[in-house]
Assembly symmetry: C2
Homo-oligomer: 401 residues x 2
Amino acid sequence: MTDFSKTRSLFHMPDGVIYLDGNSLGPLPVNAQQRVMETMKDQWGDMLIRGWNDGGWMQMPRRVGDRVGRLIGAPAGTVIMGDTLSIKVYQALASAIDLVTGQDGQRRVILSDSGNFPSDLYIAEGLIQSLDRGYELKVVAPEEVEAAIDETVAVTMLTEVDYRTGRLHDMKALTARAHAAGALTVWDLAHSAGAIPVDLAGAQADFAVGCTYKYLNGGPGAPAFIYVAPKWAEKARPALSGWMGHERPFAFDLTYRPGDGIERMRVGTPPILALAALDAALDAWEGVDMADVRAKSIALCDLFIAEVEARCPGLTLASPREGTRRGSQVSFRHGEGYAIMQALISRGVIGDFRAPDAIRFGFTPLYIDEQDVVQAVDVLEDIIANRLWDEPRFKQKALVT
Amino acid sequence: MTDFSKTRSLFHMPDGVIYLDGNSLGPLPVNAQQRVMETMKDQWGDMLIRGWNDGGWMQMPRRVGDRVGRLIGAPAGTVIMGDTLSIKVYQALASAIDLVTGQDGQRRVILSDSGNFPSDLYIAEGLIQSLDRGYELKVVAPEEVEAAIDETVAVTMLTEVDYRTGRLHDMKALTARAHAAGALTVWDLAHSAGAIPVDLAGAQADFAVGCTYKYLNGGPGAPAFIYVAPKWAEKARPALSGWMGHERPFAFDLTYRPGDGIERMRVGTPPILALAALDAALDAWEGVDMADVRAKSIALCDLFIAEVEARCPGLTLASPREGTRRGSQVSFRHGEGYAIMQALISRGVIGDFRAPDAIRFGFTPLYIDEQDVVQAVDVLEDIIANRLWDEPRFKQKALVT
C-alpha cells in the first residue's frame, strides 16, 4: 500500500497554498535542490569536462528514461530523455510517417482531434508543410476519432488525456483499431505519465512522447521523453539526426549512422542540470503503486466534483463524470472562469485557466489529500457566493494563464 | 581595459587544475549555484506555476538571447535561446532552404565543409532526406569553400571556427560571396561566441546558431541560441512550429500562426533552471571588452605554440600559425595523442582529444593567464620527454573524449 503521507513530505509546499496545478507544473521535490547543487559543485565544478565520463552524464538520458519508462509500461531501453515535448512529437511523427509511407504510399492522413494539445497540431502542420508531399492533418472531434480511422490514415496522433477536460482516450482500443486499418500510432502522454497507469507495451503503442514537468515534478521546462516500440526501434529513421544519436558520436565521422535502437532519438548535448533535477524528482515514485495513485486520484476528483456541484452554483462540469474516463484533473466551465481562477489564486488555491472558459484543477495524490479538496471548495464557494471574483484586478489577463 | 584578474575570480577552479578545455565545457561560475538555488527555491518552490509570470520565465529566452546577442554583434530582438545547437541548426537550415527555394527552385546544393562539426552535417543529411526534393549536401575542404559557392548553392552552412584546428573562416567575405551568388548563409558560432569578436549584423549573416556551454560557461547541455537577420525574421517559416513560437500560445488555437520575428523560433517550454545558470554565467561578461579578450587570447595561443615547439618534440601544429586566422584554441597532432592527453589530464592539465590524432587546448582569457600556459607546457614537456603517456591506463578509450 502506498504511503501517501510519506510522499507528501517529499515536496516543498509554501504555507497557505493548496496546489491544484501539478498538472501544469509539479511542485519542488525537497531533494532536488541538493541534487542540482551537487551536480553543479561536485560534477560541473570539480570534474569539469570529465563529468561526461565520471559523472555519468552521457548515460543520463537513457538511465532517467528507464526510470520514466517504469511508470508508463515501457520496457528498459525503450525510452530516452531530451529536448522538449514539441520536439519529441516532431521526431515521433516524422519517423512514423516514414515507416508507414515506406509500406503504403497512398496513406496521406495524419489523424488527430480537437482535444489534442495545440502544439502537437502545430508541429504536425509544420512537418506536413516541410514534407510537401500531400499529407493532410485531419482534426476531428475526440469522440469521432475511432470512426475516422480508415485506410487513408497513415498515423494517428493523439493525446491520451485531454488537457482541458481530462477526458481519457482508450489507448489500447484505438491503437488496435489503427493497426487494423494499417496505421501507426503516436501517443502524447503529457497528462498521463505519473497521473494514471499507462501500459505502452500492453497497448502495443508504436511511438509515445511526454513531458516531465507536470505529474513527474521535474521542474519548469524539464526534459521530455520519447518511447519507440522495440519492433520499430531499429527501423525508425530519425528526422532530427544529431550527433548524440549517431552510432559513434566521438568518432566524428562526416556521415550519419543511427545509433542502436532508442539511442538514435537523442539529438544534441543533453541538459545535465535539468536531468539531475528530474532524476531527483523521480525518487518520489519509489515504493509507489500506480494503482493506488489511480484509486486515490479518482476519489479526490469525485469528491471535488461532488463538493463543487453541491456548493458552487453556476459552474458546469466540463470533465467526464465517470472517474475511469478521466485523467487526474477536473475542469468546470464558467463565463467568468478567468476572474474566478485569479480570485482563487489570490486566496492560495492554485489551479489554472484554459481558454475560452475552463477552470482546471489537477489532483495529484502524491501531495494532495481529501482535506485539501474540501478546503479548496470552501474558498471557491465563498468566491462564487459573494462574487469575490468581480474585481478589475482579477480580470487583467496575464501573459501565461 | 578589461580586468582579467577580476574575471578570473568569478569562476570556480579545482585546486591543481589548469583548465584548457573551456572550448568544450566552460567552468562553473561561482554565482551560478546561488542563482539556480534561488530559481529553484524562491521561484519554482514558492511561486510554483506563477513563476511563468512573476518569475519572468516566459521572457527568459528573449532576455537571455539579447545578452548573448551583445557578444556576437546581434541587435536586440534578433537572438532567442532554446533547445540544443543541433535543433537550432535544423531550424536555421530549414528556414533558409525555404526562403531560397521560394526565390529560385533550381538551387539544390547545401554547401558545407569537412571542418564543420559533424552534427551540423548529420542534421543537414536528415533534413535533406526528409524533404526528398533533390537537395544535396556538398562537403568540400575548408579552403575550397569560397570557390565552391556558385549559382547551384541554396545555402552555405559553415562553422566559423573549426572545432578541431581552430581555423577561422572569413564570415564577412564568405557571406558576401554567398549573397553575390544568390545563396543564404547559416553560421555556426559554437567556437566563436565568447571566443572572438563576432559581428553578425556587420557581416550581413542571414542565420546564425551556437551553443552556450563552451566559452559562455552556461553549464553542461546549456541552451542553444539562434539568430535571424531582421530582413528574414518576419518571412522565415519555422519548420519546428511549436506552441511557444505561436503568435498567441495561450489562446490555444487549433492552427499555427508564427509569432513576431525571432519569437517564432521558440519551440517548446523553455528550460528555466538551465537558463538561470546561463544568465548567471553571462554576468562575467559585464565590463569585458571583446577586443581585449581577442588580444589576450592570441597572445596566450602564440605563447603556447612557441613553448610547445621549443620544448615538446614530435608534436605537429594543426592550427593556423597566424593568430588572426585562429579562434581561441590550438591543436597539435601526434600519433599517440589520445594517450598524451590522458596523461596530461592525470596531471591536472585538462584539454581534450579529437579523433583521429589531435590534442586540443582552449585558451579562455576570462580565467586563463600566461602562467597557466607555461605551467601546462612544463607538464607536457615532462610527459613527452619521459614518455609518461606510454602506460596502458592512458590508452583505454573513454566513452567521451
